[in-house]
Amino acid sequence: MVGAALSWLRRHQAAINALNVFPVPDGDTGTNMTLTMTSAWQEVEPQREDSVGKIAAMIAHGALMGARGNSGVILSQIWRGFARSLDTKTRMDAGDLAEAMQQAADTAYKGVVKPVEGTILTVIRETAEEAQLAAHETQDLEMMFERMLQRARKAEARTPALLPVLRQAGVVDSGGQGLVVILEGMWRHMKGMPVVESERLAQVVDLATAVDHPHPDMTLDALHFDSNYPYDVQFIIAGYDLDVDAIRQRIEAMGDCPLVVGDSRAVKVHVHVSDPGAPISFGVLCGSLSDVVVENMQDQYQEFIAGRDAHPVMGPGIEVPVAFVQAEPQLIGVVVVAAGEGMEQVLQSLGATVVVEGGQTMNPSTADILKALDQLTTSKAIILPNNKNIIMAAEQAAEMSDLEVAVVPTRSVPQGIGALLALDQQATLDGNVAAMVRSASEVMTGEVTRAVRDVNLNGITVHQGDVIGLLDGILVSAAASFAAVVRDLIGKADIDDRELVTLYYGEGVAEGEAADLADELTAAYPSLEFEVIFGGQPHYPYLLSIE
């Protein structure tokens, strides 16, 4: 049943991902929930266990360890509450299910500091309510589940009515939808309906010839890819009178390595693109999609490199600052989350002990953060999540770790850098947290990226692919070029009390380009000092720290 939920979730992952409110390359909810459920499934799959309490406990443990992103963490808490309620039970009746659902909802609410309605929380709460009502009327679990699913769908549909930001963006809550998909998968399994991808389609398309995307067991050269097109997108379009040539033409115009094969009933599409949303949106117009796979090749590439050569040899003359060597003994280890080679170096130079690879597009799991904590030789630790969607996983890891751990809830890498500056190895953990929170709050963060879809937010109309700018997480600018957005961000920031702007240039920006921009800004803003630093971060050509 859990396996069915996972398969169903996988099938809808891309659709859930497309529900991001902000048009930024976000920590994808669909991916995060799928990875969380995958971890749960891996825990329970190899076991031969029929006690429902024990199975639920295994699922809960797996979900907890694999929890990624806020939606994944909440999902893991739902499972935790569910499992705790069933505990020693070997079988589950309607009353048990209702009670377990109630505990699941309660645990999920308790795990969130400020519960917000119109999210996955609303969906689990209403589903639990329905379970209670249904348990009074029926003992048939299948019927009960059907009612729960219907109620969950209604709750999901109401999320935009409850949460203005969803209404404005014209989407339902992605975490809520993820939960509905999980329930749907389970229900389909109970009814004996298929949850795996249609085999009929797979037979129509010769997959052996269709699959040519990079695979980890291929050679290094084969893995080289155009970093302008970091996403590998594959799907199958099913329809009645599909025009293969017309589809191929459109797909070829979108990116690199296009492959479009099939017939009038089914077409297999494979392409490397900068924005995975584009081919998927196009595919939906042609017919119904299945087998949707979106992969970030850059991540794969890096993983591959890391696995192949764990100790890269530096060329002569390249000075790599290793760490801020403390005269005082290290008493507090610091785990930070960041992406980009330059960012990693900056953080290490300021005293970060372990850098966990991750950020906006790839949220590390609770287990990833726990693993980093395990590497520390200190008894105390501080975690800087550097992203709002990683804070909960960090808190969960802090709770589970044997060390004395505090989380400073930093929401961006510039904030994390601000926090790190205040680190005092001599001070207590509490004292450090207070100083670091304050130091982080003094940093204004600017982010420049490309919109992954159309949106109208805060009076700014954004089209997919536009360059957009956010100030402390709020969309304030859209323009044609990275430089124009940087200019606009500084123009819109309250710089009265500010002295220093650091431009961290990321992937896709050359050093000279960033330096020229800084020179131009120095001339325009004589009261500010501009500093240009290589960050190497993906998806964000520029990150700004305004201090």
């Binding site: 760490a323 801020f324 060597v325 170096q345 900056v346 500056l421 005092d424 201090e547």
Partner: protein, 287 residues
């Protein structure tokens, strides 16, 4: 007529010229070499500006030359000839400079009057405040044992805290072990350094001068009310200094804040830009 006890210090103490004159303190100059150009440690502000400029431009670390023990003997000689019965020497911390050892060696050789070299553990006005306190006691007519006890008490309560432009000069000075051990900063970082008991300690790191000043004022508020306070700066405009001075005045028992420009020898080791305070905490408050 001279006082019964003479006081001698070095130009690292950064005592303003008017104060030196009013207190009748002897100052031993320290020579500085920046890119082959020689500067004397106690010259006019015009020279200071020129010195600061050359410090900014210079690529090689400035060289300081501590006076030889013969120069100290000559200085003691001059004091003895002016009629003092004993000499007290207060110099930059022995951990940071060879001045203390030269002065002490000279004191052992000098037979005319007793010379006591007292450890200040300090730099700049941190030494300066100890000189001021001792000379006030001398004026009151205090005897040598009383002065030594007083000096010890003031030393324990004296702190210098400053925001430096960067850690670079302190690192290059080779006088602070942990600073030498650091690698170059990738970002613009302004270290907040405390000098106390002969050691330099990193209290905080900030990114802008404004944050540094805010932090500094808060630090002083935490140890307030203080007995004495000097605002140390590196050639800043009164417009910049006055609001800081006003904020600090409330933290001093008698409301008096001295604004003192840091001298070239100190700058040679901390770098051309920075702002700080030298405080003597109240009797019952240690920082």
């Amino acid at each position: 007529m001279g006082h019964r006890i003479g006081i001698i210090t070095d130009s690292v103490a950064d005592l303003p010229a008017v104060v030196v004159e009013a207190l009748d303190v002897k100052v031993v100059p320290i020579h500085l070499l920046v890119d082959g150009q020689s500067y004397r440690g106690n010259e006019s502000s015009l020279d200071r500006q020129q010195f600061q400029r050359s410090l900014r431009r210079s690529t090689s670390p400035p060289q300081t030359a501590a006076p030889s023990y013969q120069e100290f003997i000559l200085a003691y000689q001059a004091l003895a000839e002016s009629g003092v019965e004993a000499i007290v020497g207060l110099f930059v911390a022995s951990q940071l400079s060879s001045i203390f050892n030269q002065a002490r060696y000279a004191a052992e050789l000098f037979q005319d009057v007793p010379v006591r070299i007292l450890e200040t553990g300090q730099v700049s006005m941190g030494v300066g405040w100890q000189v001021v306190a001792i000379s006030e006691a001398v004026k009151r007519g205090a005897a040598l044992p009383e002065i030594e006890a007083l000096a010890h008490g003031v030393k324990r309560r004296t702190h210098v805290v400053g925001v430096l432009g960067s850690l670079e000069h302190l690192r290059r000075s080779g006088r602070v072990g942990w600073a030498q051990a650091t690698v170059g900063d990738l970002l613009q970082i302004k270290p907040v350094i405390e000098f106390y008991g002969g050691e330099a300690r990193l209290l905080n790191r900030v990114r802008t001068q404004r944050r540094g000043v805010t932090w500094l004022i808060e630090w002083v508020r935490k140890v307030a009310p203080v007995e004495r306070l000097a605002l140390l700066h590196t050639g800043m405009e009164p417009g910049t200094l006055n609001p800081i001075k006003a904020a600090l005045q409330m933290c001093v028992a008698n409301g008096e804040v001295w604004v003192v420009e840091a001298g070239p020898v100190f700058l040679a080791h901390i770098g051309p830009t920075g702002i700080g305070v030298a405080v003597v905490c109240g009797e019952n408050k240690g920082a």
